[in-house]
């Protein structure tokens, strides 16, 4: 009797301390954690992580239209925050959702760890025609498909019309012209022309690819071997170019996405913002384009190195992937294919510029193409800049250790900003660093 009581007490204590663990046990798969309310309660539930600003609406639309499955959505943070949590869930072997929003450049990182499901077997053929080949390429590794494309990030040059008018410059068509224009504005006592931020290595990677760099080459048939070329001439040139602009005081070196940077954009401290098609949505959300700077922005195609052979590049862009931890991959795949694919959600996405859709029903919609974008003061930004850029985009081979690469790049860009190394030296260091890491991870580096 005595023993039993003690045992009971101990059991109670253990249970008590275990409570903390229990509540996080289920992680993403706990239906009670949904941000949205599920109305059709008798249907099976698929959990999902995502951070699109209009996810609530997209999920509600899906749940309303679907009589087979319901989506339980949680926003666990944007970008790196979400990936860190997913990475932890992968390592722990539990806690991941069924469906996850992933940017295209991270797909190989998770794929190589066996964390994503090849969804080709679950109805790929039915929706194949809805997306371009390039869109599918970004979410595929070899023949296998690891995500359903949602949005892309064709890049352009957002600029302040008022500043351009004041200093009598026209949108530069080449990077050489960009520098000349920057110099002209500076000489006239104008604001910075752009920003070279250490925390956006993905932009620099895109700009290096534009000049002809191929950072990574990877053959899924030989998964242990990878080509790493981060210090070829094109990569060095681009780093030197931006490092030079910063050194001459033509562009700022502020971290992007910070209150400091956004307030700078609002105050007209930057004449241009080299960014992607989703930027207007982001900027509007952050308060840009309202009040004093209403209607002052416009967009032009991304400046080129060789205007005779223009190259279009991408920043960001995301997809829905199904995780290996999902116990109902088939249902999860249905969700991945169906989410953000109905007309209503897509239309909301592009009218509010939350996303630049990759779904062809939206991309080919005249209403989308001809849209007069309010942020750009009625400019037909899609028709003039983003749709041609998206059409010309060829796709990129991303690294299976993208996080490490981008972190290492950020570190080197900081050094360039500090002025302690030249762009070319930074590229050499980056090559050495990333190649070493790749070898440590068991790859044969070419």
């Amino acid at each position: 009797m005595k023993r039993r009581r003690i045992l009971a007490t101990v059991a109670m204590l253990v249970a008590g301390s275990g409570l903390v663990a229990c509540s996080s046990d289920e992680g993403g798969s706990d239906a009670s954690n949904c941000t949205n309310t599920i109305t059709k309660k008798d249907l099976p539930v698929v959990t999902m992580w995502g951070w699109y600003p209009n996810t609530q609406l997209v999920v509600d639309n899906f749940n309303k239209q679907n009589n087979e499955v319901q989506v339980c959505w949680t926003n666990v943070g944007q970008g790196g925050d979400e990936y860190d949590k997913f990475q932890t869930a992968i390592s722990a072997g539990t806690g991941a959702p069924d469906v996850i929003m992933v940017e295209a450049d991270r797909i190989p990182t998770f794929q190589i760890q066996g964390a994503l499901v090849d969804i080709k077997q679950y109805g790929y053929d039915a929706v194949k025609a809805n997306y371009s080949e390039g869109a599918w390429k970004d979410v595929s590794v070899g023949d296998a498909v690891y995500g359903v494309p949602v949005d892309g990030g064709p890049m352009g040059m957002i600029y302040r019309k008022d500043i351009f008018d004041k200093y009598k410059i026209t949108p530069p068509k080449t990077w050489a012209e960009y520098e000349q224009a920057a110099q002209k504005v500076k000489d006239a006592g104008g604001p910075l022309f752009g920003d070279f931020g250490a925390n956006v290595p993905a932009v620099l990677m895109a700009l290096q690819i534009q000049k002809g760099a191929t950072p990574f080459s990877f053959d899924p048939a030989q998964p242990t071997s990878i080509g790493v070329k981060l210090n070829d001439q094109a990569s060095k040139d681009v780093l030197d170019y931006w490092g030079g602009l910063a050194r001459k005081g033509l562009v700022g070196t502020e971290n992007q996405f910070t209150p400091e940077y956004i307030s700078g954009v609002i105050n007209g401290n930057y004449a241009t913002y080299i960014s992607a098609a989703w930027a207007p949505g982001y900027l509007t959300g952050a308060g840009v384009g309202k009040g004093q700077d209403t209607g002052k922005f416009a967009v032009a195609p991304l400046p080129q190195w060789d205007p005779a052979n223009p190259v279009q590049v991408n920043w960001g862009g995301s997809a829905f992937s199904v995780t290996k931890q999902s116990k109902k991959p088939e249902l999860a795949a249905k969700v991945a294919y169906g989410l953000y694919a109905d007309k209503e959600s897509l239309t909301d996405g592009w009218t509010n510029q939350v996303i630049f859709p990759l779904n062809l029903t939206a991309l080919k919609d005249p209403a989308f193409i001809d849209l007069k974008v309010a942020f750009f003061d009625g400019q037909q930004a899609n028709k003039e800049v983003y749709v041609p850029a998206a059409d010309a985009y060829k796709g990129v081979q991303y690294a299976p250790f993208g996080q490490y690469y981008l972190d290492a790049m950020e570190k080197q860009v900081s050094e360039v900003i500090k002025g302690s190394v030249t762009g070319a030296q930074a590229a050499d260091r980056l090559q050495e660093d990333v190649a070493k890491y790749a070898k440590e991870q068991g790859f044969t580096v070419q």
Partner: protein
């Protein structure tokens, strides 16, 4: 449970001994029961994770080739890893500057507040302590704004004199930027500990000193400081451990400081990056243990050093 033994009237000697043994056992068990809750939590949330981390640190997981037992390879790697070494060197340098600054400020304030007893002193005490009541994360965010070139007050203040404000978030000045945040946050807390220790000093000592002709300064340096030496050593150890594990402030300011704070700025941040963003829990654990080793050595060396010194005081 006691009914069984008490109801019996007559007992033999061995029986009595047995009962005493049982009572003894019961007392033991009660003792364990009281310690139990702490013990369970201690084992489950401190010892077990530590052992698990130690176990993890002996392995290496590769993207290609999976996990293998490598014994101390991760530690060898850590102590030759420039990221870890530069981070460790930074926190050591930072400790050497920030701890004396914090302690001197805390001590000075505690001594001043101890010798004045006005309403103003009480108010000041509260105000000096207040930063500690603000969570480090919020403090760091706040300072991020105060340092901001765009909308920080520094820009305006320096602008009045036609000067440019120093950019405490740039790589040249981030050391001082962080020094200020840490001092602001912790000096008040240390001040309270020292102040409490000063309150415990017998006031008759001061009277005796004054009769012997000691001035305020002499009382402070010859009586007060030596008597609160244990409290001083306590806060020195606290601040040493805290500074070597520097994480919150740089992690928050990282988003605002353009490239001045990398993901390997301090060993703790580096361990965090390895574990949670690169999924390298093995190396992250090894770094954590290596850092633990450095903290242990530093604290041990410090205590060893002060033990000797204290005999002089």
């Amino acid at each position: 449970m006691t009914s069984l033994t008490e109801k019996r009237a007559a007992r033999t000697q061995p029986e009595t001994r047995k009962i005493r043994g049982k009572v003894h056992l019961r007392e033991h068990l009660m003792g364990w029961l009281f310690v139990g809750p702490f013990g369970v939590v201690f084992l489950a949330f401190l010892i077990a994770p530590l052992l698990y981390a130690l176990y993890l640190s002996l392995f290496q997981k590769k993207l290609i080739g999976g996990t293998s037992f490598v014994l101390f390879d991760n530690y060898v790697k850590a102590f030759t890893d420039p990221s870890f070494l530069s981070g460790a060197w930074f926190v050591i340098r930072f400790s050497l500057v920030s701890i004396p600054v914090q302690i001197i400020i805390a001590l000075a304030m505690a001594l001043i507040l101890d010798s004045v007893t006005t309403l103003f002193a009480r108010f000041s005490r509260l105000m000096i302590f207040l930063p500690y009541a603000i969570p480090t994360v919020i403090g760091a965010v706040m300072w991020g704004f105060l340092y901001s070139k765009g909308f920080g007050p520094l820009t305006d203040i320096f602008g009045l004199f036609g000067a440019t404000a120093p950019d405490f978030l740039s790589s040249d000045l981030i050391f001082y930027g962080l020094l200020n945040v840490v001092t602001w946050q912790w000096a008040g807390y240390y001040m309270i500990i020292l102040y409490a220790a000063l309150q415990g000093v017998d006031p008759t000592l001061y009277e005796a000193a004054r009769m012997d002709g000691a001035g305020r300064w002499q009382i402070a340096t010859r009586i007060k400081i030596p008597l609160i030496a244990p409290a001083l050593i306590l806060i020195l150890v606290f601040s040493l451990i805290g500074t070597l594990q520097f994480f919150n402030e740089p992690q928050i300011l990282r988003y605002l400081a353009a490239g001045a704070i990398g993901s390997d700025f301090t060993p703790n941040m580096y361990a965090y990056q390895q574990a949670f963003s690169l999924a390298n829990f093995n190396y992250g654990s090894a770094i954590s243990f290596a850092l633990g080793g450095i903290v242990f050595i530093c604290v041990y060396a410090f205590l060893f050093f002060t033990r000797k010194r204290r005999s002089f005081l």
